[in-house]
Symmetry: C2
Subunit: 219 residues, 2 copies
Amino acid sequence: MSSFPVTERSRIRRLHERGTHDEAAVHAVLDAAPLCHVGYVIDGEAYVTPTIHWREGNRVYWHGSAASRFLRKVAGQRVCLTVSLMDGYVMARSAFNHSVNYRSAMVFGRAHVVTDPDETAAALHRFVEDMFPGRWDDLRAMTAQELKATSVLWLDIEEASVKHRAAPPGDPEDAGHPVWAGVLPITTTLGAAEPAPGPHHDLPLPEALADLIASGRLR
Amino acid sequence: MSSFPVTERSRIRRLHERGTHDEAAVHAVLDAAPLCHVGYVIDGEAYVTPTIHWREGNRVYWHGSAASRFLRKVAGQRVCLTVSLMDGYVMARSAFNHSVNYRSAMVFGRAHVVTDPDETAAALHRFVEDMFPGRWDDLRAMTAQELKATSVLWLDIEEASVKHRAAPPGDPEDAGHPVWAGVLPITTTLGAAEPAPGPHHDLPLPEALADLIASGRLR
């Protein structure tokens, strides 16, 4: 795995910022959320597109329609891929000290399209298995046409920043002010599975999906 | 309120995409989440910074430290502000038809800094009250120094796209394939409030915060 510099670039809030210069910390934030926002430039202007990412070592992948304007435009371009998780509202005794508990990683690298169909298929396999262990083999097999219609992109992380805040309000100097202060934790979870209609609507939920729901995590 | 064109620009998934050409739909997505991702260009490269936004009519605001590189760089620049909410994993019978239920809005406009201190104070007041009704008056008052250290930015939406998917798997043709299919709903909620230590740690939680937690929404 190649090394990359971790720099201070992102800011969520003016205070209580913590930059951890650690590749493992960058990877941990990438792995904690399925959703990222990819920033790219078209004709000098910024665009930010949400997508689902996955990671293997220092390489981050995402995918979409081979016909997508987004995917065609970012190929070959250096992009910024940001993952952010809000963990809580930090309610201080002053407006100024209100904050957010969060984790955020910004990674930079050049976007490439996987050109070999076997590699595309292998990457999609790893994507599904990463999200939902054991699912791939249970699915109706992918067709050649579906594979052709799907582009997988990747970047190797060349530079990154990671930040987090996980603390109560940072305003002990105002502790005498009589207002409720503390943290309202934010939790994102999977709820009860909703089976689709069809002849197999009464199949039991696969154990891996039940485990994922029970884990309280999204991936 | 000025009108803006709503175009098809963002893509989360290759299938099942829905573009609704409606300013109210754009505003509803902006209002549903506190977190946005702002894309901007520095030296020809894209950056994506997470921040908290708020909206008044067709104007979207965010804020940060007056010393922030991000805020200084975006001032005067046309930026892309994207808000995305994941509402569920859509588990189809094939990998190709797996999808996400989501809401997403991309808005484009030129970023401006509020220069008048009274306007900055008024905007921050509306921000806090928008998030936490009734809280501003209970807080320790903002100082002139705190106000000076805080920049408020805004953009008027010039162009936007909004998309959402809210449906079971879209693969009835594969319904005969014997694999569990359906939706795993994703929910983001506020948990039990965690009071901060201090002489007033036993103050009751303000009713507005209790209501917000009970609402199952983040704002």
